[in-house]
């Protein structure tokens, strides 16, 4: 877990909530089934308020519990997969957020959490989609899967700054997909989320190839206006990696 989040959790938890969590960590590390009933109860025991970087108190407390599980590799994956299966969205979000940390502590966990990431990406809960796209997804999704995930975020209006690994993984093909998406939006007379532009801009010629610039000469006033707005935003954007 990010040290800021860990520190924020320690600061925010006081009294009963802190005692409960300390005891819960001991229980889940000693009794293999305890986590199944302790994990769902975290929200009402520790609180659900915001912590830092989009995490809640309950997220961080739940991740701490998962880190205490005395399991490795396939057994660890089986237990957290069941927690996810029976979990409400808040529990599922915490499982997704824990994946990178679990792998850091146990390299044999490796890609075993990837099916949970894929399930979240198939769904429509934007909160879960964002939680799925942390450092673990950036490490393990293949190139196609990663690009599709980014495109899905753009469609669902999830800010791209919540997607881990974009600086390293955004490639020319992703830029092409985003430029085509932008063209489609302009053809519908609609606006484009500003966070696609740095990626498009980083790959010379991609915008031109999409056909978007020609929309500025469209006979349809809405399309023309949308194209002008898009091209202005594009020109005002520094390419990704150039900052």
């Amino acid at each position: 877990m990010d040290p800021h989040i860990r520190a924020a959790l320690d600061r925010q938890l006081t009294g009963d909530a802190r005692r409960w969590l300390v005891d819960a960590v001991v229980r889940v590390s000693q009794d293999l089934t305890a986590v199944r009933t302790v994990f769902p109860a975290v929200g009402r025991r520790c609180g659900r308020g915001p912590l830092a970087a989009g995490w809640t108190v309950a997220d961080a407390a739940r991740v701490r519990l998962l880190a205490a599980l005395p399991l490795r590799g396939a057994e660890l994956a089986e237990e957290i997969t069941a927690l996810h299966r029976y979990g409400e969205p808040a529990e599922q979000r915490a499982v997704l957020r824990s994946l990178a940390l679990l792998e850091d502590a146990d390299p044999s966990f490796a890609g075993l959490g990837l099916p949970l990431v894929r399930e979240a990406l198939r769904g429509n809960d934007t909160d879960l989609i964002a939680a799925a796209l942390g450092p673990y997804a950036a490490r393990h999704l293949d190139q196609d899967g990663y690009r599709q995930a980014v495109l899905k975020c753009v469609f669902c209006e999830i800010p791209l700054d919540r997607v881990a690994g974009l600086d390293e993984r955004a490639d020319r093909e992703l830029a092409r997909m985003l430029a085509d998406f932008a063209h489609e939006r302009v053809a519908a007379g609609r606006d484009i989320p500003a966070d696609v532009w740095p990626i498009v801009r980083a790959h010379a010629g991609v915008l031109e190839a999409s056909g978007l610039p020609a929309e500025a000469d469209s006979p349809v006033p809405d399309r023309r206006a949308a194209a002008v707005r898009a091209l202005t935003a594009y020109s005002a954007t520094a390419p990704a990696g150039a900052s």
Partner: protein, 284 residues
């Protein structure tokens, strides 16, 4: 008027019902897990249903301004099916959820040994998870079934004030009153209990520890029976405070024992028109 229906199977109702319930004053409901009309043949059908009671149904209710909680259990009918009884092993995961405010419906249907086993195990789970229980009494041989239910409840060691014994009538209310358990009445269009009979029971036995529900399940039923009973109470000489006690404060007190009820506040004289709701799916 504010109404809390403490036992209603919204899974079998339409959005029109939700709208009409809100207009009638219903602001909160508890949906006990029960059978689905068509028998289940596997544990997975239960878990998908429990997930719906915790996810989809509260979302649906919130769109109409109604707060939804549930109770989780293996119901007495299906306790008799060996393909279903294994759901007892996954119940602990669900009993730990925030929206689960009791174990239920448990109890007897035909009073078989399998039902005995399921009832005893689930009472033990209620003690372990510090949850109240909602106990269904059988439709056939009701007085004997109710007496036996109360014996098993007593033996389980759960405090009687954490137990709601439901579907009572004129002949069983006294037994339950003496036991210290809460008393539930399902008011139906033509069976079990009517509004006027309900008012007579309240006049005779008082309003303390009494809860009125519409059950509104797969049979012929009416989700507005709570409101109709409230109106009948007023017509029968009860005042607004007595109606509020039965229709709101009693269910809040009973399910509040879970420590998880956590309702948004509703004023006793709430007559607001519902104007949309931003509660998103999932909560937390």
């Amino acid at each position: 008027m504010r109404i809390f229906d403490p036992h209603i199977h919204m899974t079998s109702r339409t959005t029109d019902d939700y709208e009409a319930m809100y207009a009638a004053g219903v602001r909160a409901v508890v949906e006990p897990s029960f059978w689905l009309g068509q028998p289940r043949t596997s544990v997975d059908s239960f878990t998908d249903y429990f997930d719906a009671l915790l996810g989809w149904e509260p979302y649906r209710a919130a769109q109409f301004g109604i707060q939804h909680r549930c109770t989780i259990a293996l119901n007495p009918k299906e306790a008799n099916d060996p393909r279903c009884a294994a759901v007892l092993d996954v119940l602990p995961r669900y009993l730990a959820k925030d929206r689960v405010v009791a174990v239920g419906e448990i109890g007897y249907d035909s009073m078989t040994p399998e039902e005995d086993e399921a009832l005893a195990r689930q009472l033990a789970l209620a003690v372990e998870f510090e949850l109240p229980v909602l106990v269904h009494t059988p439709h056939r041989d009701k007085a004997v079934g109710t007496r036996r239910t109360l014996d098993v409840v007593r033996e389980s060691g759960i405090p009687p004030e954490r137990v709601l014994v439901d579907h009572l009538n004129e002949l069983t209310v006294g037994l339950v009153a003496d036991s210290g358990c809460w008393m539930g009445f399902s008011v139906y269009p033509d069976t079990k209990m009517s509004e006027d009979r309900m008012v007579r029971i309240l006049q005779e036995h008082g309003t303390g520890r009494k809860l009125v529900n519409s059950a509104a399940d797969w049979g012929r039923s009416d989700p507005l029976k709570t409101r109709k009973t409230a109106d009948a109470m007023l017509a029968g000489g009860f005042d607004d405070d007595a109606v509020d006690e039965v229709m709101w404060r009693n269910p809040v007190a009973f399910y509040g024992q879970s420590g998880r009820l956590d309702l948004e506040e509703v004023k006793p004289d709430d007559t607001a028109l519902f104007a949309g709701n931003s509660i998103r799916r999932g909560g937390e």
